[in-house]
Symmetry: C2
Subunit: 227 residues, 2 copies
């Protein structure tokens, strides 16, 4: 598959490396590829600069946001929440077309210090805002409730027995993404929460996730829905 990933940070790097390893053709999109490659230091929480990371992952291409998504079978939004809308605007509605967009982003706002707050919540969500701004895109919100390395390796926790959430307006797109997440990474239990307004709950879970991280001492955890 041709996969376009928006965002050069930890989430984008982690997804790109895992998908390239499976043999997919992965292009990471960024605003200014030359600027990204010229950067010598890592942007935390990334540990290495993108340039150094790419040396270890030479099959992953770097391109503009538009070029990364234009011929992709699926686009993945792995930007920071505050950068998501401008990244999609930069890619443009024409290049995005009717692509399936996996939205893994969270509207975390670190500008007021720790813990971060959400830049949108309660009566709206980032997922809804992106879907509204790009109505032809088939947005599927998922993966945003776990840390990056667990996204691509659910088996690292409880032998893979835990729950991923997913929502979106397009039933076919959701079924397709569910299947991909199983094939790509081995996700087994994916709970469909309904239309894109469920993004509110999935994003508003982040403050609990962050405090639970603090309590258990590691981001390598997830919730399992038990009945």
């Amino acid at each position: 598959m041709q996969i376009g990933i928006l965002g050069t940070g930890v989430v984008g790097q982690t997804l790109a490396a895992a998908l390239a390893e499976k043999g997919h053709t992965v292009t990471i999109g960024t605003r200014d590829p030359a600027e990204t490659m010229a950067r010598e230091t890592a942007k935390p929480p990334a540990r290495v600069s993108f340039r150094d990371w790419q040396r270890s992952n030479p099959t992953v291409k770097l391109a503009t946001f538009a070029d990364a998504v234009r011929s992709a079978d699926v686009a993945i939004n792995a930007t920071s929440g505050v950068g998501a809308m401008s990244a999609l605007e930069d890619a443009g509605a024409e290049a995005l077309g009717e692509t399936i967009l996996i939205d893994a982003s969270n509207p975390l706002d670190f500008s007021k210090g720790m813990p971060p707050t959400l830049s949108v919540c309660n009566t709206d969500s980032l997922g809804e805002q992106l879907q509204k701004a790009f109505p032809r895109v088939r947005l599927v919100k998922t993966l945003n409730t776990i840390t990056a390395s667990l996204m691509v390796n659910p088996g690292a926790v409880n032998e893979g027995d835990h729950t991923l959430f997913l929502c979106g307006n397009d039933a076919d797109a959701k079924e397709t993404v569910k299947r991909w997440l199983g094939e790509w990474f081995g996700w087994r239990e994916i709970v469909d929460l309904g239309d894109v307004t469920a993004s509110r709950g999935m994003e508003m879970y982040l403050p609990l996730w962050l405090r639970t991280w603090g309590a258990v001492g590691s981001p390598m955890f997830n919730v399992k829905i038990v009945r």
Copy 2:
């Protein structure tokens, strides 16, 4: 133990019945006991009027908010979120004293239709507001992330193997509440999320909880933190 419960709704009734059955002396507090007893119809989601409920639970006393908490070993806030502050104000700081207050409430606002929104979130929470308004009270936020019948019977789901969250500023009060929740209801896994500001995450989880209820078709579920 002497237990004062604020709120005559489903949560108050469920907790009161379970605690009375264990032999505790339970008093439910309400604004106007005579008015509560005169009401002939149930207030949804309660199925029966309080009067009818009390006929089946004759050992549970009904009193004013102040009388319910004045000599209680522990008070439990089981009011609706929108009624929580006025219930505590009605009880009064003098009657509340330095009591441990288990805050099981959620700031759900149903006034704008379904799904409910939160009347406070992101940069503040109901738990924090209550603690700030009554600084001597030792508030422990817990039980708010599950349905009432599961609060008192965790064994009804996954043989009791799932996670309850808890937070608050007073470490001794939290340890005491942890012990009580084990003794009263059999809770085994209680994750301490830190100070009362973790109420934000615990309350902001509600939109995800409501959508998960919709997806699994029953409120009899919970999350288990797996690592």
